[in-house]
């Protein structure tokens, strides 16, 4: 904006505003056009490259898209009543996956709690610790779980434990960041009040911070649990046990009925936990929470 003195004539001012506005508008339009052009370019170019790199083509594969699901459905119908016991047969595998996710979430959550408190300013933590904890969380978040799980499977052998450690590690980073964001946004009043009443550090945290952050913490924890169930299922695929491993076997041996039973089980589990946790979350915080 150009500065205008009160003595200026009104018509000139409007002209000027009009001009400025037009300029800004043109600039904005240019940016929008550029952005759309860039998006289109990435889309067209990217799909071109992807099509080239892919071993099968898009058009060629399109008709095959329904083949595999159709096969599975057909084989499941062939199995007839024998299909339902399969659900029961694979239930232990599902329980193992849920257990993997739960233990990973608990261990990661405890670590996240510690990290979150260590990376929040103004809670009386030794200041040099703050950036260290933050960088550690960034690293833990960026590290793909799968890589850690594969490495640990190599060392510890194929079992659910490598997956749990990998999930816990990633959870510590992801939850730690969300927790520390909650910590940053608390009302400092109660803390000052408690300090004035002579409360020590533990008491200040217990009565000043925890009541404020607990609903959000629980909500984030539940959301992470949900994500971790999917992650544990995927890690099973590389040898960590649970439903993922069964799925890999079933797909590898092209057992349609088993595969569909596992798909259904996984789908039901994810939807059920999705529903339960979103109901609980809504009750705790009043509305949904963001995504990291």
């Amino acid at each position: 904006m150009t500065a205008t003195s009160p003595g200026d004539h009104a018509p000139r001012m409007i002209d000027q505003i009009d001009q400025e506005f037009g300029k800004a508008e043109r600039k904005r339009r240019l940016y929008t056009a550029l952005f759309i052009a860039a998006t289109l370019f990435v889309m067209v170019g990217g799909f071109g490259i992807a099509e080239d790199m892919n071993s099968g083509s898009f058009i060629g594969g399109l008709h095959k898209f329904f083949d595999y699901p159709a096969n599975i459905v057909a084989e499941s119908f062939e199995a007839g009543w024998g299909w339902y016991p399969l659900l029961l047969h694979f239930a232990p595998a599902l329980i193992e996956t849920v257990n993997m996710a739960a233990v990973g979430t608990i261990l990661g959550g405890v670590l996240a709690l510690v990290l979150a408190f260590c990376s929040t300013r103004g809670l009386g933590v030794w200041p040099p610790l703050i950036p260290i904890c933050r960088r550690f969380m960034d690293g833990a978040r960026a590290f793909p779980e799968l890589i850690l799980a594969l490495f640990l499977i190599f060392v510890l052998g194929a079992s659910p434990v490598p997956a749990i450690i990998a999930v816990a590690f990633h959870t510590a980073g992801a939850l730690g960041k969300q927790f520390s964001e909650v910590n940053e946004n608390i009302d400092r009043g109660p803390l000052d009040g408690l300090a004035a009443a002579g409360a020590n550090w533990t008491q200040r945290m217990r009565y000043g911070v925890l009541p404020q952050v607990l609903p959000n913490y629980t909500s984030y924890l539940l959301m992470r649990f949900e994500i971790n169930i999917r992650a544990s299922a995927i890690l099973g695929f590389v040898g960590a046990g649970g439903i993922g491993q069964e799925l890999r076997k079933a797909i590898g041996w092209t057992q349609g009925a088993e595969t569909s039973a596992l798909f259904v089980l996984l789908f039901l589990a994810i939807v059920a936990i999705d529903q339960i946790s979103s109901t609980l979350r809504r009750r705790l915080t009043g509305d949904g929470v963001g995504h990291v």
Partner: protein, 449 residues
């Protein structure tokens, strides 16, 4: 509290006056204690269910140490073949047949009957015929090992705890950086060096053994090394086609992974937006169609990226297209749901304001609705772009291709752990770069809008 009284209250008095408050706070204590106990019991159950005790016994932590060492170091083998007395001493990197040296390194001195080898850290080994003498710090005397004519292996002299010996085998590992191994057929010495061998150029390259700067200088000083290509271009092409590190392939795989994440998210957000309007209460008054769209979102989300990628691999084969479709399908569900929630939460007054100026329905959307949801649209899409970079690695490893598959391949062979480590580093670098890029773009777009 409320009034400032002159008398101070005794503990009993406080108990009596605030009995209700205190009782409640005592009751509240049971909650966390109970919860903590429950979690503890659950963890004990998990410990038993996952059979942790036997796992701890079975785990191979020595493997971890070797892997860790291999990720930043390489070893040079010095091998004496005992079956063929006339055979010369072999010196090679990682024992590879073509990994020979143009001339002997200065820490190996050949003698008439064997060799004197400096293993580093003060350890020295002397091979004389079929006998090996090892000296080093912390030893009372030399360790001697020999292979007798009948093929049995025996050791004499001092016997530190890092020496393992039986009739058929002698094994010594004073530190992680030296290793001596004797069997009936050969004496093998390993010396470890920190670094990644042949990272820039492989054995076939005329630049083998040089660093990048060194090769650049060398290229400038030499006449044309290979016909039809300039020396400097040859540097790049040799680096790019390095057989051991496969820089070109790794780069291509990285590009594939980024493509998957970028295009998958782009398609998901572009398809998700119009569908989100159909799923929003304030834009689609027809309950049945609204519910139908929402169930489609749930279905897409619920099936999970893993399963989608398996289905698409069958249809489209290996490659980025499969990954793109898997990400696009899953995230159309997720983003569609998020967008529809954002659309339901817009401020109606702004739309009314635009309407009151006589705006057409299209203008009402353009100026009343879009500005309100655009920041959320951009922010959520970019958040998902970030997390999809990680996801693309994972579904890639399950078979969709890209850097994930490359990683699993090198891990499965298990020989060149440093290659795996290199790919891990690159993957993490890409994930972090994506993180920073999307954060930067988000700030830029949202504050400018």
């Amino acid at each position: 509290m409320t009034t400032a009284s002159a008398t101070t209250l005794g503990t009993d008095e406080i108990d009596r006056r605030f009995a209700a408050v205190l009782a409640r706070s005592r009751r509240q204590i049971f909650w966390p204690v109970g919860l903590a106990l429950g979690v503890l019991v659950y963890l004990v159950y998990a410990w038993i269910a996952f059979d942790m005790t036997s796992l701890v016994q079975q785990s191979r932590f020595d493997r971890a140490a070797i892997l860790a060492l291999d990720s930043f170091a390489y070893k040079v083998h010095v091998t004496e073949d005992l079956r063929d007395a006339g055979a010369p001493l072999e010196i090679s990197i990682e024992g590879a047949r073509q990994g020979g040296f143009r001339e002997d390194p200065d820490w190996v001195v050949r003698t008439e009957t064997g060799a004197a080898v400096d293993l580093g850290d003060g350890y020295r080994a002397v091979i004389e015929g079929r006998t090996l003498t090892l000296t080093g710090p912390g030893l009372d005397g030399p360790v001697e090992a020999r292979v007798l004519e009948d093929g049995t292996v025996e050791a004499t002299g001092s016997r530190p705890d890092w020496v393992k010996v039986n009739d058929r085998r002698f094994e010594a590992r004073p530190t992680l950086f030296q290793r001596v191994r004797i069997t009936r057929t050969r004496i093998e010495l390993h010396r470890y060096f920190v670094g990644w061998e042949n990272f820039w150029f492989d054995y076939d390259s005329p630049y083998h053994g040089m660093g990048l700067m060194q090769a650049w200088a060398y290229a400038g000083s030499q006449p044309q090394i290979e016909e039809g290509i300039s020396n400097r271009a040859l540097i790049f092409s040799n680096f790019w086609t390095n057989k051991e590190w496969q820089h070109g392939d790794v780069f291509k795989a990285l590009l594939e992974t980024i493509l998957m994440a970028l295009l998958g998210t782009l398609v998901a957000s572009i398809v998700g937006l119009p569908l989100a309007f159909l799923a929003a209460r304030n834009f689609n008054p027809v309950m049945a169609s609204r519910m139908a769209v929402r169930r489609v979102f749930d279905f897409l989300r619920g099936i999970d990226m893993l399963v989608w990628s398996l289905i698409f691999i069958r249809a489209f084969g290996l490659g980025p297209l499969t990954g793109i479709m898997a990400i696009a399908f899953t995230d159309t569900g997720t983003l569609g749901k998020l967008f529809s929630e954002a659309i339901e939460n817009i401020d109606g007054k702004q739309v009314d304001g635009v309407k009151s100026t006589g705006a057409s329905p299209v203008q009402r959307y353009r100026f009343g609705v879009i500005p309100q949801i655009l920041p959320i649209f951009v922010a959520q899409s970019l958040y998902y772009l970030e997390s999809n970079t990680r996801s693309a690695t994972i579904i890639g490893a399950l078979g969709a291709g890209g850097i994930g598959l490359k990683l699993v391949e090198t891990l499965r062979t298990g020989v060149d752990w440093e290659n795996t480590f290199y790919i891990i580093l690159l993957t993490i670098a890409v994930v972090i770069a994506m993180d920073i890029f999307s954060g930067w773009l988000r700030r830029k777009l949202i504050t400018d809008a």
